[in-house]
């Protein structure tokens, strides 16, 4: 597994529990206990998931030793969305120019006749 940011984002999102955690945190910050509440898994398992999300930059944790509230970070998801938008733009412009190129080719073929 590579460590570039987009791969980390996608890997972190591959797990349904982590996605559910993220959706919960998107509504507002919460402590580990609050995050764990709706899930039938141990606090330890929830902590593990939170670590993966934190490594991917999808959440941040507060400094207070006791609660360390989890906070949703939107930047990595926006980066993933931006990547798609940027590539779509490049391919669209590339194909616009190919269209022109094909027109010129057809035109020159006509002239040669």
């Amino acid at each position: 597994m590579t460590n570039d940011p987009l791969s980390l984002t996608f890997a972190a999102l591959a797990d349904p529990t982590r996605r559910a955690i993220l959706l919960r945190l998107a509504e507002g910050e919460a402590t580990v206990n609050e995050v764990a509440e709706p899930f039938e898994i141990s606090l330890q398992a929830v902590s593990k998931h939170l670590k993966v999300l934190e490594a991917a930059g999808l959440i941040s944790r507060g400094r207070e030793a006791q609660y360390r509230p989890c906070h949703f970070e939107s930047a990595p998801l926006e980066a993933a969305t931006d990547w798609i938008a940027r590539n779509r733009q490049i391919w669209t412009e590339r194909y616009d120019q190919l269209e022109q190129h094909l027109k010129r080719m057809a035109h020159e073929k006509e002239k040669k006749k």
């Binding site: 597994m1 590579t2 570039d4 987009l6 791969s7 996608f10 890997a11 999102l13 591959a14 349904p16 996605r19 993220l22 959706l23 998107a26 939107s74 998801l77 926006e78 993933a80 969305t81 990547w83 798609i84 590539n87 779509r88 733009q89 490049i90 391919w91 669209t92 412009e93 590339r94 194909y95 616009d96 120019q97 190919l98 269209e99 022109q100 190129h101 094909l102 027109k103 080719m105 057809a106």
Partner: protein, 151 residues
């Protein structure tokens, strides 16, 4: 398998129709003397001497796009995975976002036109299972809606 749905994670599909036969469009997409005319998007050039096409599976597919204003260079270092003229070709870029795969299929519309379907993905293979896909899509519809509220 895929559509133009904007919510798909890490994937991009672009469908275009060209007024030329598949043989012509395929040749344009895989010949340096043609590529130099259109490969760079607007504001970018792709000089002929920076283009390498080794037309077979495992062969190199390399271009250098140059920003017309700043002279900044954007190299692409890819390797063909499949090369099946004039039906399709695919290539991988190991250096991009953990490995990106691009597949371009040329569909003969039978009336002198060609439909190309360009599919790009950098989703790691472990995410490609149908269950993972279904889960990601529903999550992303929600996530997109949420992100929209932030802006």
């Amino acid at each position: 398998m895929t559509s133009d749905a904007p919510t798909e994670l890490g994937e991009l599909t672009i469908t275009r129709i060209f007024e030329a036969r598949p043989e012509v469009v395929f040749e344009c997409m895989t010949t340096p003397s043609h590529l130099t005319h259109f490969w760079g998007p607007i504001g970018m050039s792709t000089p002929l001497d920076g283009i390498t096409v080794e037309p077979n599976p495992g062969g190199r597919f390399e271009t250098v796009m140059v920003n017309d204003e700043t002279g900044e260079e954007y190299p692409m270092r890819a390797v063909f995975v499949q090369f099946d003229p004039p039906r399709m070709f695919s290539f991988t870029e190991a250096g991009v976002e953990g490995g990106m795969m691009t597949t371009i299929v040329f569909n003969d519309l039978g009336d002198g036109r060609t439909e190309t379907v360009t599919h790009q993905t950098n989703v790691p293979p472990m995410l490609m299972s149908p269950e993972a896909q279904a889960g990601l899509e529903t999550s992303f519809v929600k996530m997109d809606a949420y992100l929209a509220t932030l802006q």
